[in-house]
Symmetry: C4
């Protein structure tokens, strides 16, 4: 597949990281992920902006996705500033080359896990 | 990102609020949410209309989303009239500026929680 | 909202009704649903066709959705022929007026429930 | 429905097969599936390519979907090479005739199951 697939501007309208439950094994800690796929032969320079209900947007956070690579960005790991726990937010993802974005969450607040995943909105 | 992302007319074909289980902590009460993201620099005036299987539509409910803000609208909280529990419904969301809409549900009727989330249909 | 929202041809590539577990309360029996929303002022005449991995398609099943109504079609309830349990299938949904289609499943084979929902593919 | 529905190039940005838990009944072993629907009257020749975070893509894997058939491809079952467990990946699905692609996962690492399903991105 020579041609890259995707779009350069995406939005995830739903975001929520449950309050920390860090005494679990790391793969079962609640987290939200933006899965980025760059099928092109160029680096993708990605900018993530976060939107909130009660304050101005923060970011952009800068992410690089190498050519022909995928990167799963955990919102939990974004820094300066960190994404607050227990707060509703939304995000936009802009890239200089076409990428595909999928949104997923693992919620482990109860005894068992809940998973969700949905394609982001391509603008 | 100066340009707003999204569309002005959306639909969520699936809606269902499980019967009340209000003796749980509030964040674990079953609920349905329409997550609205307004990346524009103007207020979004949003109208939500609910459709049922056996009666005429109700609404529109009026919601304002401030510029550069997200709002998570819980269908549980809509009033005049309230959304009936245990009833199947669908919804349309119209806005005067482009927004992005995502639909989610937390179902806590059993011992554990179930989550779903999906992008709404952009008309 | 005067204009109808949606498309006239949809596909759900994933279908699977878990084997029966009919000793549960009806709302917790595993089921798959196509949620149809008809925002137009005309009846929608809908034809559902099922595709399988190892035999010719069956259908179409004929469904009517009244003007300004939603209908949640349980694949479990389709008759002549019934949808086999424990079998992978897919479906197309054709309508003479624009509709919106969302796909959901409740899986209750284990002690707790699992939910999924996703927008169908609009052709 | 004479006309085939779908597109010829799809992407799934999120992929992850949990580490093996093979002492469960087969239908409850964690797995990821790409559900392919070919409504056309021709064979669909499908090529699946996998993308990783830290190495070059692998594939394409060749899949044939018969006319008017659906095929649920378990990523667990792909061979030469097998898809590594516990590794994040993404995929593209290219076909010579239009198909519809949906992505689903069953995660059974805990006592109960978690399900997700989402339409793939149509390029």
């Amino acid at each position: 597949m020579a041609q890259p697939i995707g779009k350069t501007y995406w939005a995830i309208a739903e975001g929520y990281i449950p309050p920390d439950d860090t005494d679990r094994p790391p793969e079962f800690v609640s987290h939200e992920t933006a899965c980025l796929l760059n099928t092109s032969d160029q680096e993708a320079h990605v900018q993530i902006t976060l939107y909130f209900s009660d304050r101005e947007p923060v970011g952009p956070y800068h992410i690089v996705v190498a050519p022909r690579r995928t990167k799963h960005v955990r919102f939990n790991d974004l820094k300066d500033p960190a994404v607050p726990r227990g707060t509703e937010y939304a995000s936009t993802i802009a890239s200089d080359v076409p990428i595909v974005v999928q949104h997923s969450r693992l919620d482990s607040r109860r005894s068992d896990i809940a998973l969700l995943s949905t394609i982001a909105y391509a603008g």
